[in-house]
């Protein structure tokens, strides 16, 4: 059965299943969300107004049998945080279930005339619009629990917390994991507020009895799947007991700290004396010592990397899942906090209230610099989540992210690009990631062009992090390849093994070609990725963005970063090389 577009109009409360038009037929995941936003959303619209849309799409291989680690769902729209196009993707249960219902994308548009709030239940029989009045103000932990009580078959629950209901610019979209915890997030860029502006509190997806995913060339798909699976299971980073499986993404904490690239105390240092205490090794030690929680947790069914974790408190009760490197950096090192239990408590609050942990931690750090509290004040930091939960004026400021908070507190050291704050790699000490932060169509985003792999980890080659020569080309290659992978439904972490093991890369492409019935090879990946980047870049241009927005914040040019005492010394012309091709030929 051919894939369908499910268009849900909240103005007249209708749901229609449309044939996928030719212009979108080849796309899935990020490629599809960006194509739909490019075609249907006015780039000059207000992100919270009636003309923005939320687009949700599983990837090419999502929902196919045993494609390894293929549970990513892409969420797209115009971002309230950045004003750019946005694609933010998440693990959890949603991707495979949407795909198995034969749905290529859900387009959520319009706003209820009566101002009421709804939740949506989607299964093989269609869409139900349900009254969400009783869910308003509830955190995602409770919403997930209620939905599994109301519906059988353990459905996917996509939802927003109170912060999304208040249309805050740092509202993320939660997806439940296999244990029905709300820790998987399309966190970045405030898409939770775009969902909130449609007055949709949650979308529940049950795939029972759905038609499943059509695979055009099963032999090719199986061949590719096998090669990719082998690569993942043999690479030292992604195999069983390897770095990611044993310690999670927070395996990076000590290493980025050692490299002098760990943003600390609002991006004023590249090393944190408390890094070891909030590292992945410490998470594993706590799990072992407290005899509760786990490492090696799968965020979606069929993941063979299993880099997630469930973090226990001193009494053995679960505090939060997961503690990621980004979470531990933002709520830990960048706030001068070296207590993993507090990082976990703040993570739990973010996941329940509906906040992106990166932007939230960076926001607290800016508020600390602005004098609201001292760096390292963990009790004070945790108490701020009460303000957010209650929706006090201070809480509402903080839930709008770094730039809003920096203005309110008179802070000039704002580590943002296009309104989105930087993740856990200091661009002064790791120049290639600075190219990605500066030029990404998403604002400062590490996942959109993860040059850390060759700059620090020695994956996919080895380059000097402190120099900028050749980094424009490197960043573009990573951004284009990532745009492709973000369209597959595969987790981006498959990139580590397949950058080192060519057969794995071929397998990834063959599995996609098998599903779609294409004749493509590994050589086509960058060009297909660039088609996606071009749509995103043109959307941003039409929204008013120029090369001058592709710059890092000024303070990084004149404040040397310890321990290497380096500034951002990359000439603007180098940055402008990354997207120069968009208007050529």
């Amino acid at each position: 059965m051919a894939r369908k577009i499910l268009r849900i109009n909240m103005t007249d409360l209708t749901a229609t299943y449309e044939d996928i038009p030719e212009k979108w037929a080849k796309w899935a995941g990020r490629g599809l969300t960006s194509a739909i936003v490019f075609d249907e959303v006015d780039p000059t619209c207000h992100p919270l107004g009636p003309n923005n849309k939320l687009v949700i799409a599983p990837g090419w291989v999502s929902g196919t049998p045993a494609a390894p680690s293929s549970g990513r769902t892409s969420f797209g729209g115009k971002s309230p945080l950045t004003g750019t196009i946005k694609e933010s993707n998440s693990g959890g249960l949603s991707s495979q279930k949407i795909a198995k219902l034969g749905i290529a994308a859900i387009i959520l548009e319009g706003q209820p005339k009566d101002g009421k709030w709804y939740y949506l239940f989607i299964n093989k029989d269609g869409v139900k619009f349900e009254d969400a009045t009783d869910l308003l103000g509830k955190g995602m932990e409770e919403v997930d629990r209620i939905m599994w009580e109301r519906y059988e078959h353990k459905p996917a629950v996509i939802g927003i917390g109170p912060v999304g209901e208040r249309l805050a610019a740092n509202a993320g979209i939660s997806v439940n994991d296999p244990e029905n915890n709300p820790g998987r997030y399309a966190g970045r860029g405030g898409l939770g507020a775009v969902m909130g502006a449609r007055h949709v509190k949650a979308i529940v997806v049950d795939d029972k009895g759905g038609p499943g995913v059509e695979i055009k060339n099963m032999d090719l798909f199986k061949k590719g799947r096998k090669k990719l699976t082998n690569a993942i299971m043999t690479h030292d980073l992604t195999k069983k007991g390897g770095g990611l499986n044993a310690y999670g993404t927070d395996v990076l904490m000590n290493i980025i700290n050692e490299a002098g690239g760990l943003p600390t105390r609002n991006f004023s240092s590249g090393q944190f004396e408390g890094a070891a205490k909030i590292s992945g090794e410490m998470i594993a030690e706590m799990v072992e010592k407290r005899k509760a929680g786990m490492t090696g947790h799968a965020c979606h069914p069929g993941c063979i990397i299993q880099c997630s974790n469930i973090y226990p408190g001193p009494d053995g009760r679960i505090i939060a899942s997961p503690i990621e490197y980004e979470t531990a950096f933002a709520l830990g090192a960048n706030c001068g906090i070296d207590d993993l239990d507090f990082v976990a408590k703040m993570t739990k609050a973010c996941n329940d209230l509906g906040l992106d942990t990166i932007e939230m931690g960076n926001t607290i750090a800016v508020a600390m610099e602005g004098g609201l509290l001292e760096f390292g004040d963990k009790e004070g930091a945790l108490a701020l989540f009460d303000e957010i939960a209650k929706g006090t004026p201070l809480g509402r400021v903080l839930s709008n992210g770094v730039e809003a908070t920096a203005k309110v507190f008179g802070v000039h050291r704002t580590p943002t690009v296009k309104g989105q704050s930087m993740p856990a790699y200091e661009p002064r000490a790791i120049k290639g990631i600075g190219f990605t932060y500066a030029t990404s169509t998403m604002g400062a985003d590490h996942t959109s062009g993860y040059t850390i792999a060759p700059e620090i980890a020695g994956v996919g080659g080895k380059v000097d992090p402190l120099t900028y020569e050749g980094k424009a080309e490197l960043s573009l290659a990573f951004q284009a390849t990532t745009a492709f992978i973000d369209s597959t439904g595969y987790c981006l972490f498959i990139a580590f093994p397949i950058l080192d093991i060519q057969e794995g890369f071929e397998g990834m492409v063959e599995s996609v070609a098998g599903v779609m019935g294409w004749d493509i090879s590994a050589n086509d990946v960058v060009e297909i990725g660039k088609e996606i980047l071009k749509m995103e870049r043109l959307f941003n241009e039409r929204a008013g963005f120029t090369n001058l927005d592709d710059r890092l914040p000024e303070f990084m040019r004149y404040e040397p970063l310890p321990p290497h005492n380096v500034v951002w010394d990359v000439p603007d012309e180098e940055l402008d090389k990354v997207y120069a091709w968009v208007h050529e030929s």
Partner: protein, 79 residues
């Protein structure tokens, strides 16, 4: 001369006496390479992906200097 060595993640099993992020002080003769020091510590060559000296990457054949802060790092990544 003396250097300090740290190991992370999956390499910690070879120096189990060290706490997380804790450094081991090692006396080495002048002219010792990073590969020789790695072998001296019992770290398998095929598990060491990156070597850092004072936060900067070095090659196994480079020579250790007095007072170096050295880290042996396995395959890592994440995000």
């Amino acid at each position: 001369m003396q250097v300090e060595v740290r190991v992370f993640a999956t390499l910690r099993r070879y120096l189990p006496e060290l706490g997380i992020g804790e450094a081991k002080k090692v006396e080495v003769p002048a002219g010792t390479t990073f590969a020789e020091l790695r072998d001296l510590l019992g770290l398998p060559a095929d598990e060491v992906k990156i070597i850092m000296r004072n936060g900067l990457q070095v090659e196994p054949e480079d020579v250790v200097q007095d007072g170096d802060r050295i880290a042996y790092i396995p395959a890592t990544g994440g995000g």
